[in-house]
């Protein structure tokens, strides 16, 4: 951005290789924790919503509001309580995964054909067995679609946590903005995008391995 400066200075990248890999690790960690914790909470809430339909609207409504609140604002609400910490970052990141995950878990399970459920019940499956052996496996494709979107979104949002002292690759983006220096900016931006694409591809492979019946003929 400074005139005369090349877009990418490879020597800067070479001399910061250690820090870059450290930040990649941080980005991965923030993302995985957020999605895993988000999944656990989302499953709990989705089961509640499925069991008690009256609570379905309040649960998805609350998740919707959390999703609508801009990320920076959500982090700002938390900072006075939890400081510039990993916890603040994770609470925010987890909140953003909930809407997508809850919605997909519910619609995945509701989408199980009623004849399949009827047959399972008629052959003597208990409600627990129907949930674990029939509904969840069959909802897996839809749930995975939710996990993919949640993961990609989280990877992007992790960069914003640079503003509260975390950030993974977002740290380099912020550094680039503050120093008017394009090399770290591009490292952060392209790194984050690459990460999202790779993670999405990996999730697709995992899903295919887990749901062999969805790709017949």
């Amino acid at each position: 951005m400074t005139p005369g400066e090349p877009l990418i200075r490879w020597d800067w990248i070479a001399s910061h290789a250690g820090e870059i890999s450290l930040r990649i690790g941080e980005h991965l960690e923030l993302t995985v924790i957020a999605v895993v914790v988000g999944l656990v909470i989302a499953f709990g809430l989705a089961f509640v919503a499925l069991r008690l339909p009256a609570l379905s609207a309040p649960i998805t409504g609350t998740a919707g509001i959390l999703y609508t609140i801009p990320s920076l604002a959500l982090f700002a609400f938390l900072v006075p309580h939890t400081g510039l910490s990993v916890l603040t970052a994770e609470i925010g990141l987890v909140s953003y995964t909930l809407l997508i995950l809850i919605r997909n878990i519910i619609s995945g399970i509701r989408g199980v054909p009623s004849d399949v459920r009827d047959a399972a019940l008629g052959m003597g499956y208990t409600p627990q067995q129907i949930l674990w052996r029939i509904e969840l496996p069959l909802a897996l494709a839809v749930i995975f679609a939710g996990i993919r979107v949640a993961t990609i979104t989280t990877i992007g949002l992790v960069t914003v946590t640079a503003l509260i002292g975390q950030g993974g690759l977002g740290y380099f983006i912020l550094l680039g903005i503050q120093l008017f220096f394009s090399t770290p900016l591009l490292v952060g931006a392209l790194g984050s995008i690459t990460f999202a694409v790779v993670a999405d591809g990996a999730l697709v492979l995992v899903q295919r391995a887990l749901t062999p019946w969805t790709r017949l003929r």
Binding site: D115, D118, A119, G122, M123, W213
Partner: protein
């Protein structure tokens, strides 16, 4: 071995009410062991509700259902269902499980040892005409409609239940496949001696498969009789209309040439007359005689003359009683 397998099922004044509507009203009848009982009637007559009360997918409001003298309401529903085969129109096959895993469903629930399950799966697949080596690992989506229905039937029979409940199992396949599935099913049922309660809206299917046919209307049992009697003596106008104005012809398909008191042979007319066997249905006999423009046919068993069958005799069988 076959005779002792099936269970006796008795409905005793079974009623199901939803608020003010009565879906099933004081239904009472008994299905003898090893027989097929078909519940038939227009949609909304309560036939499926009645079926689903047997394995307690629906709980009766009052009355009781006894299987071999035991009240189903006294049993744990889950345990009860594992003893009763269940087949539905949309098959309800588990899309995420292979054919073998689908068939093994109830034996696995019952905790059979692995080897026994595998033997049983292979046995059943051969019984329904699917090559286990080739088809075992297929998923339901890779099967034709007819194959899926066969797997559904095999799955229901896997744990050797004394009773099977079947809800329009063949309604979703095309007529040619349906006919084949019906014949296969009849053969299987006769061989295994299982008691079957079968729901259909198709009167022809009811007549073809049923040892007893229960005609239902608006939650009531209108008539419960063997198919021949149903066609010969419909209980009222509704049954007469429901079985169709061609019920005489339908009845002919239930009667055999051998069951008719044959006329003595007139050697003079023997030449050129069509030859029938005593096991032929009267309907087929009629077709043969009409197409060869004969008034009279010769009935032979092997090379022995049994007598003659005339069109007049068949005509007399057609004139079934009008409803009382």
């Amino acid at each position: 071995m076959a005779e002792s397998r099936g269970a006796t099922v008795e409905f005793r004044s079974v009623t199901k009410r939803y608020g003010d509507t009565i879906a099933v009203d004081r239904l009472s009848f008994t299905v003898p062991a090893g027989r097929i009982c078909v519940l038939v009637g227009p949609s909304g007559c309560g036939k499926t509700t009645s079926l689903r009360m047997v394995n307690r997918l629906i709980e009766p409001t009052s009355g009781e259902i006894l299987i071999d003298g035991q009240n189903v309401l006294a049993e744990d529903p889950t345990q009860l269902r594992r003893r009763i085969g269940y087949v539905i129109q949309q098959t309800g096959l588990f899309p995420h499980q292979t054919v073998a895993d689908n068939i093994a469903t109830v034996p696995r629930l019952l905790g059979w040892p692995k080897e026994r399950i595998q033997l049983r799966v292979d046995e059943l697949m051969k019984l329904i005409g699917l090559d286990p080596g080739r088809m075992r690992r297929r998923y339901p989506a890779q099967l034709s409609g007819g194959e899926r229905q066969r797997v559904g039937v095999a799955r229901a029979m896997a744990a050797e239940p004394p009773l099977m409940l079947m809800d329009e199992p063949f309604a979703a396949v095309d007529p040619i496949v349906r006919e084949r599935l019906q014949n296969e099913f009849l053969r299987l049922q006769r061989a295994q001696g299982i008691t079957v309660i079968f729901v259909t809206h198709d009167i022809d299917e009811a007549i073809k498969l049923g040892d007893r046919v229960a005609v239902m209307r608006l939650g009531h049992l209108v008539q419960y009789a063997p198919p021949g009697e149903l066609l010969a003596r419909p209980a009222d106008d509704f049954v007469a209309k429901f079985v169709g104005s061609d019920r005489g012809l339908k009845r002919l398909s239930l009667l055999t040439v051998g069951g008719v008191e044959l006329a003595p042979l007139d050697r003079a007319k023997l030449d050129g007359a069509p030859v029938l066997s005593p096991s032929m249905s009267l309907r087929d006999a009629l077709a043969v005689m009409l197409s060869s423009e004969a008034q009279e046919a010769t009935v032979m068993e092997g090379d022995r003359y049994l007598g003659a069958l005339t069109l007049q005799q068949i005509g007399r069988m057609l004139r079934v009683d009008e409803p009382a």
